[in-house]
């Protein structure tokens, strides 16, 4: 079979809803796009540990301390599942990691904002994880088997992430005046960056059409964003926080909530590395990576020595 025929068979399998597995034939561009998208997803989980990790030592009760620690730990786990799935495409995790630390690879723009009060932790759970769940639920049906399975596992584990955030935010929004102030302030700061998480509008999203044809994604950025907004408006009302968008209004005909203009200039700047926390986040991750080098080397050296000794003994 030539490449054209293989491509047709491949597309037919996708259209039939079959999963593609690592050793199956796939177009080079499919493989490249998957590596880009999956590793970007993995980097986001890892960088995402930093803003929330900022509050582990200050969480206001032992319960919340353990919840937060377990959640941030889950993010390390999710990063690991995703790297593990990406590695099935024949790339090394080390190369992927170094590509975002020292090269051009991207991670989600949302993690380039600071966590200023404890309410930020609650809002990240509610909005940021809420948005991530919308996205990952779709990706759990992705055409690439390992990616779909990783997302399925992530979704199962992540349901508590959103719940704990929403639950605590509800308490704060209905709590003391200081708690209410923190809660609303956090919602104000995180709302727009959360909407940007779904990526640029469809007409400016270069990869979307292709990814949908290959069933890597099944919905467009704007579709996902809309379903998130519809759900979130109701949730905000229930706990008494206001979404900072004066243009937000319900459209009777479509049955959807229409939202105001997203500040896309800010999005493009942050994506290109020029946001409030890009430099600091990368610096923290580089530091961990570089300061861990001697540990990783020591463990390899020990393994080498041990193997040598065992070889000699037998």
């Amino acid at each position: 079979m030539d490449t054209k025929e293989k491509s047709d068979v491949f597309q037919k399998r996708i259209d039939n809803g079959e999963k593609i597995e690592p050793k199956d034939w796939m177009p080079e561009r499919y493989r490249k796009q998957l590596i880009r998208m999956m590793s970007q997803h993995a980097h986001s989980e890892i960088v995402g540990m930093l803003p929330e990790g900022n509050w582990i030592t200050r969480a206001p009760s032992l319960k919340r301390k353990m919840v937060l620690l377990a959640k941030v730990q889950d993010e390390a786990g999710h990063g690991l599942y995703l790297y593990s799935a990406t590695e099935t495409l024949g790339v090394k995790r080390k190369d992927l990691v170094e590509d975002y630390l020292y090269g051009k690879a991207k991670y989600s723009s949302i993690f380039n904002y600071p966590t200023l009060t404890y309410a930020d932790i609650c809002v990240i759970g509610w909005l940021v994880d809420g948005a991530a769940i919308v996205n990952q639920t779709m990706l759990a049906k992705s055409s690439y088997g390992p990616y779909a399975r990783a997302n399925l596992r992530i979704c199962k584990e992540e349901s508590f992430h959103k719940k704990q955030g929403y639950e605590m935010l509800a308490k704060m929004a209905g709590g003391t005046p200081e708690q209410q102030k923190m809660a609303q302030d956090a919602v104000n700061r995180w709302w727009w960056p959360t909407l940007m998480m779904f990526g640029p509008p469809d007409e400016e999203s270069p990869n979307s059409a292709e990814l949908i044809t290959w069933a890597v994604k099944t919905k467009t950025n704007d579709e996902l964003r809309q379903s998130f907004v519809d759900r979130t408006v109701m949730e905000a009302r229930k706990i008494g926080v206001t979404l900072p968008d004066p243009d937000l209004k319900y459209n009777e005909e479509t049955g959807h909530w229409e939202y105001g203009e997203i500040p896309w200039d800010e999005f493009w700047r942050v994506i290109k590395g020029d946001g409030p926390m890009n430099r600091e986040r990368l610096k923290a991750r580089r530091k961990a990576y570089e300061e861990g080098a001697w540990v990783r080397e020591a463990a390899m050296e020990y393994a080498r020595k041990k193997k040598y000794r065992e070889g000699k003994a037998s």
Partner: protein
Amino acid sequence: MSKKITNTKTDKELIIEILLRLADDRLIHGHRLSEWTGHGPELEEDLALANVALDMIGHAAALYRYAAVIEGNPDEDYYAYFRDDIDFKNVAMVELPKGDFAYTITRQFLFSVYSYFLYEKLIETVENEQFNGMLQKHFKEIKYHLRHSREWVLRLGDGTKESHERIQNAFDEIWMYTGELFSMDETEHTAIEKNLFVDVSELKAPWLEFVKETLEEATLSLPDDDQYMFTGSRQGRHTEHLGHLLAQMQFLRRSYPDADWK
């Protein structure tokens, strides 16, 4: 034991004192380990350190909760958030700043060996069923902490020249804080009579033997035991580090004590 008993604590005060000593060790150690989250030397190790931290904070919370029931306090948070450093009973070793990975592993190893022998003995001794049940549950996880830290001591000790130096330095630096693990005070002597505690001075020999064997296997040398040994933490005389740790841990809760933070 020839020491004259002059302790006048009631049985209730005694068990609370013992519960808090165990719990404070675990909360403060867990807090230090949690500082690694997102900054570990490798992704897998980030998960491992967070697991140990979660276990330890979980053990502390369970012990505090039981103390709260006995003492009639609202909940476990009272002990973690509303006591000052002179009220904390943890050993100084666990409050020292986390240092590099070798330092963290060394502390975890020395403390885990101690916890292993302590819990093993406590489970044989403690008659209070609820207390004993908790000890048994936590003991399983302590065994894993010991395994994890011991394996790393071997790898860092017998790894590269750099890792060897780093972990040898860590043992040398931390050693002066190992003395108080095995020192006994009146509270403990009384608690022994009530089957609530064990003679920790008797744990020194098996602890040292275990540490020595591991260090030998890791090609490391045992620090000089005849040196200044820090004491007093069990009575609330800590290092300067604890105050800073508590300032961070307690600030939000104490700023708004009437708010619901659960």
